[in-house]
Symmetry: C2
Subunit: 416 residues, 2 copies
């Protein structure tokens, strides 16, 4: 079981979490719990580090920021004990959760925890701080922001857990954002790959890295809410969303939808370079420097070369990197050889995602027709095996999501 | 070097501390620094523990509260690095500071730190969180409140340090409280035993336990202020107070004062039981139950038995334990056999302390005469080899301290 920072923010919320954990243990399950720091605490600690040293040593940064999860793991163990449960905390170096020594964004390399497993078999609930591990040199490491989801999946894999339940402030994964489409449905199941596509295009339920790890380690992950009142009638029959393999989901869902979900992402900006020389190496001269600056280019469209041997190149970058990208490209204007740089940060990327589209033609055609029928102009397109994304005007985001949600038959029945 | 919570409270103050540490290292010294948590942080964490579980498991309490020093040790290392110093933090389990497993009030058993020593010899400043260690079972322990002074002395002993400099919010140990006596003088030297007596009677400069350890391990401790502006002219010639052995202080101070200091303590309350049966076991029936309840009885006076075979017994307990003491004694009124219980919490204990009194008669006579001359009534007396304490009316505290400070010739010269 994993609980995030909002669920751990203060004594009363930790008590709610302890109630959920106790109920699980009372069913006879062996339970390990991975916890985040209290909401806001990691930011507070990061601020201290930046004030101390703007170019901070990540090894010392890790010592400071790992303390947030240390506190909540001790407090949850204390709260469980107050309820009569056997419980103890296991810090990263005690488990041990062995990582590489890439401080501040370490990767988990191994979790070999015979003492922890023995304690769990003896009926003791294990409480483990997320986000932290120990390096080959015996120093504290952290996994990077949001790393607690990854910790939970890694611990679940190491313990060969039946399930990794990730409690968040939403009660599952929906066909699309319920704030945009009232008829959005909670998905009972979603595959790892679908979850990856939905996560990377803006459904920020789980950290992408944790989903990749779950896919690799075949950990069944359930997303559910820690804010559902477990005493409410029928609460037990309100499970979250299970994230599972292709095979499992095919066995479960006889009448699986073609499309699993629709995601909208307003965090990209569009850049067009006009009249780029249509010669070998021109594209490399644009994207090489951006890659070197760790700017993640997403959609790329190169228009067909015009008769003058020139072409327009359009691509998207994260909005946060737009100014940096413009500056870099303007520095290199002569080397690249373009006429004008046009940028637009009023765009949105709309994606339809589903493993079903692998075996079905016509998914893209449905998308383009539905958007065209409502007069929505598509500025760029990118596709993967299980996803089609289009770039549109930001103002049309909600309209596009609603239209597509209906077009693919995802709307919940009125009576549901 | 050890810095307390007030010195570590926030980015700016940590920068001051780092400046002091850097200046020390710049003199060519190998430096280890022991730090407390930011002022207020340990209280915040203790409150969380109490809210989570009023009868908290001390092992989990330790996990939570040890985080405060973890944060400041990382931040000081970062700040030193920002100033161009080589520095790293060493957590209790990394040094390792091995303790017993008495969680929440552990005792240091061993510090064997070859890696830390090698790093220091390589020019790296070691930053060590105070208050924390690791148990034989590999769990986090803490030494009890105020334990950072003890950590500092233990680390100094393990490193065979030339000196353990304890930076506080006062600039040394004075002949008495300068807020009471304007002519109080800062002592250049004081012996371990004198410091113990001064500490236990209210001069709360150092934790008593740390002084005992320094005496046992023969660590030279210097008390000095972290709030002196080190850029001020003559700041370097304003050292603090050195706490050293009898032998060393005798070699240093040719014209040593008979009395080193005067301490006042308003934290005791007086209880008198009247007409206690003067029979064997009567006193045991009073003090046995108090000892069992961990109530620390200090001064005890038993008046000479009157002709009726009855006696009055007077003693002092910490003010904080007065109500508990009264309740215990009233429950046992019949078993003890006394007439009335009279309590008085408006008392003060005044102590004159000095190793010099060992070899000089007349110290007590001077005290009683000086107090009698000013009409100050002595309610109880207790003595040790290097201390005489009297209990007086609380309202007369300041007067008594001033009178005694003059009588023993401790007043600074006017021109000083």
């Amino acid at each position: 079981m994993k609980f995030g920072g909002t669920s751990m923010a203060g004594t009363e919320r930790i008590r709610r979490v302890a109630n959920i954990v106790r109920a699980q243990a009372a069913r006879g399950d062996e339970v390990a719990v991975v916890v985040s720091a209290m909401a806001g605490e990691t930011d507070r600690l990061v601020t201290f580090c930046r004030e101390a040293n703007p170019l901070y040593d990540p090894a010392e940064y890790d010592v400071v920021v790992a303390s947030g999860e240390q506190v909540t793991s001790g407090l949850l163990a204390l709260t469980l004990q107050a309820m009569g449960c056997k419980a103890r905390s296991w810090l990263g170096w005690q488990v041990p959760i062995q990582t590489d020594d890439t401080h501040a964004s370490a990767r988990i390399e191994n979790i070999d925890a015979p003492a922890l497993i023995a304690a769990m078999q003896g009926g003791q609930i294990a409480v483990i701080p997320g986000f932290q591990g120990v390096s080959p040199h015996g120093r504290v490491t952290t996994l990077g922001r949001g790393g607690s989801d990854t910790s939970a999946v890694a611990v679940a894999a190491a313990l060969k857990a039946d399930r990794c339940d990730i409690y968040t402030d939403v009660d599952g994964v929906y066909t699309t954002d319920p704030r945009i489409v009232a008829k959005a449905r909670k998905l009972r199941h979603v595959t790892y790959e679908e979850m990856l596509e939905l996560a990377s295009v803006g459904s920020k339920v789980l950290q992408t890295r944790s989903v990749s790890l779950a896919m690799k380690e075949k950990v069944r992950v359930q997303v559910l809410s820690s804010f559902v009142d477990e005493d409410a009638p029928g609460a037990d029959s309100l499970p979250g969303t299970m994230i599972v393999s292709d095979e499992e989901v095919e066995g479960l869902d006889m009448e699986r939808q073609l499309i699993t979900g629709i995601a909208a992402d307003k965090n990209e900006a569009k850049i067009t370079l006009t009249r780029v020389a249509d010669r070998p190496g021109a594209v490399a001269s644009i994207f090489g420097p951006l890659a070197a600056a760790s700017i993640n280019v997403d959609m790329i469209i190169q228009n067909i070369a015009k008769d003058k041997g020139e072409t327009d190149v359009t691509f998207t970058v994260p909005k946060a990197d737009l100014l940096r990208t413009q500056a870099l490209l303007e520095q290199r204007k002569e080397a690249i050889g373009y006429f004008r740089l046009i940028s637009d940060d009023k765009v949105a990327k709309i994606s339809v995602v589903g493993v079903g589209m692998r075996s079905h033609a016509g998914v893209a055609a449905t998308m383009f027709k539905a958007l065209a029928d409502r007069g929505i102009n598509v500025q760029a397109i990118s596709t993967s095996e299980i996803k089609i994304s289009v770039l549109i005007d930001e103002d049309e985001t909600e309209l596009a999501v609603r239209v597509l949600h209906s077009s693919y038959g995802l709307d919940a029945a009125d009576a549901a």
